[in-house]
């Protein structure tokens, strides 16, 4: 399971306009996974997706979902109590 860390220096900046964002805060799994899945389906390979969540289950489920679909987890961070997972959509 990926462990989120406090946002380190150099972690992605929320102002990055080329990153698609999914707000899944307050949702319990598997809804954050479903939201991420639906958003990823709209992006071309190479597209970046940031999923914001509060359910710790996302730390396991989103990387697991990425693994079965061939997408890449770029990083996982904790920001002010929220979990942020960056996904790179890959050719599957």
């Amino acid at each position: 399971m990926s462990e989120a860390t406090e946002r380190p220096a150099g972690a992605p900046d929320a102002s990055n306009a080329s990153v698609h964002e999914v707000d899944a805060r307050g949702l319990l799994c598997p809804l954050p996974v479903i939201r991420a899945q639906d958003a990823a389906g709209t992006l071309a390979p190479g597209g970046l997706l940031d999923v914001f969540a509060t359910d710790p289950g996302t730390l396991h489920d989103i990387p697991a979902w990425c693994a079965v679909h061939g997408h890449r987890v770029v990083g996982t961070w904790r920001e002010r109590g929220d979990i942020r997972i960056r996904i790179e959509v890959c050719e599957t």
Binding site: L31, I34, G57, D61
Partner: protein
């Protein structure tokens, strides 16, 4: 022959995992589908209750997909699923579980999803076993599911296929019927033997315990909700809140939802702006949401009930704050209600 494609219903349990694997061994490309109904037990219980935190927080369907090396598509059907729960054509099982209608619904959804032009699947797989489940998995229900889902002979049950009429995938040679199985009955031994043969040493608990609608206590709470509201309906928040806390209903027009531990209190905090809620003042105690339309007197009584579950339960008087949805906070001083004065009938 072009490689055939099958879409498998993946619950996260052993049977659907085995069914998918058996068909994969036939050279068929398999992808999994998992439906989110809102009544799933695993993930939410882990997320909410602190005492479940030590258990692995994995989504079993995703875990199964990882073991199989297949894609898993999770589909939110919670809104459409209401019709199945509220108006099951084939009725309920022991509690409020509409298992037969549920299976028909899911096979139909899998068929619709898999046969979309973009997806191009050839048939549907389930992990059903004749006689495994008293309501939905009987010899008599197998053809009903195939027919009413619209799948007909494109629905393959690899674990019990030998006891059923050959389906199109078998007749056309997409899979070899001789290598399918003829499991029947409630025993899990054949599945466990097959799991060992296929190299699976770890798998989730047997299917059936994955839906809150099969749970007596949950079904009682859902029935109570419908009775109190005078109509059979629900939204996603209703069914989430039924999974959490102690539900105490002093009168038809309102009930308390009292957190039983830290994890539940945290979860209930997420709903505090939408409900009148009560907190203990000066002493430790749970959070209580009030669902319904209580009078001022009812709020006082609710505060006394809450105090009974607080560290101040033995005090002569305790402070409780009532936070109304309009932003007004009311300070109350109440006598904790003795446990003996909370009628058993109030506990939903």
């Amino acid at each position: 022959m072009m490689q055939k494609k099958a879409v498998a219903l993946i619950s996260g349990g052993l049977d659907s995992m085995l069914a998918a694997k058996v068909v994969m061994e036939e050279g068929v490309h398999v992808e999994g589908l998992n439906f989110y109904t809102g009544f799933c037990v695993e993930g939410h219980t882990h997320a909410i209750r602190a005492r479940h935190q030590a258990r692995p927080k994995r989504n079993n369907a995703l875990w199964v997909a990882q073991q199989l090396g297949i894609k898993l598509h999770i589909i939110d059907v919670s809104e459409q699923y209401k019709d199945i729960v509220l108006r099951p054509k084939h009725g309920y099982g022991q509690h409020l579980n509409p298992c037969l209608d549920c299976k028909i619904f899911m096979v139909n959804k899998a068929l619709a999803w898999g046969f979309m032009d973009a997806n191009g699947f050839d048939f549907v797989i389930t992990g059903e076993v004749i006689g495994q489940r008293p309501k939905s998995q009987r010899k008599a229900t197998m053809p009903i599911i195939a027919k009413e889902s619209g799948a007909d002979d494109l629905l393959l049950r690899p674990l019990c296929a030998k006891r059923l009429a050959p389906t199109k995938p078998e007749r056309e040679g997409w899979v070899d019927r001789a290598r399918l199985h003829g499991f029947e009955g409630r025993s899990r031994k054949p599945q466990m033997a097959l799991a060992a043969q296929l190299g699976f040493t770890d798998y989730a608990q047997p299917a059936g315990g994955c839906c809150f609608l099969t749970d007596a206590a949950y079904a009682a709470k859902l029935s109570d909700l419908w009775q109190a509201r005078g109509e059979r309906d629900y939204d996603l928040d209703d069914i989430m809140l039924l999974k959490v806390g102690r539900h105490v209903r002093p009168a038809r027009h309102y009930k308390l939802i009292v957190g039983r531990e830290a994890g539940e209190n945290r979860f209930l905090e997420g709903y505090r702006k939408r409900f009148l809620h009560l907190r203990m003042v000066d002493v430790e105690g749970p959070l209580a949401l009030i669902d319904g339309a209580p009078s001022r007197g009812d709020v006082r009584l609710a505060a006394r009930v809450l105090a009974r579950y607080s560290q101040g339960r033995d005090a002569a008087q305790v402070g409780v704050s009532a936070h109304h949805t309009n932003g007004v906070t009311e300070a109350l001083q109440v006598v904790p209600l003795p446990a003996s004065e909370i009628p058993r009938a109030w506990h939903v």
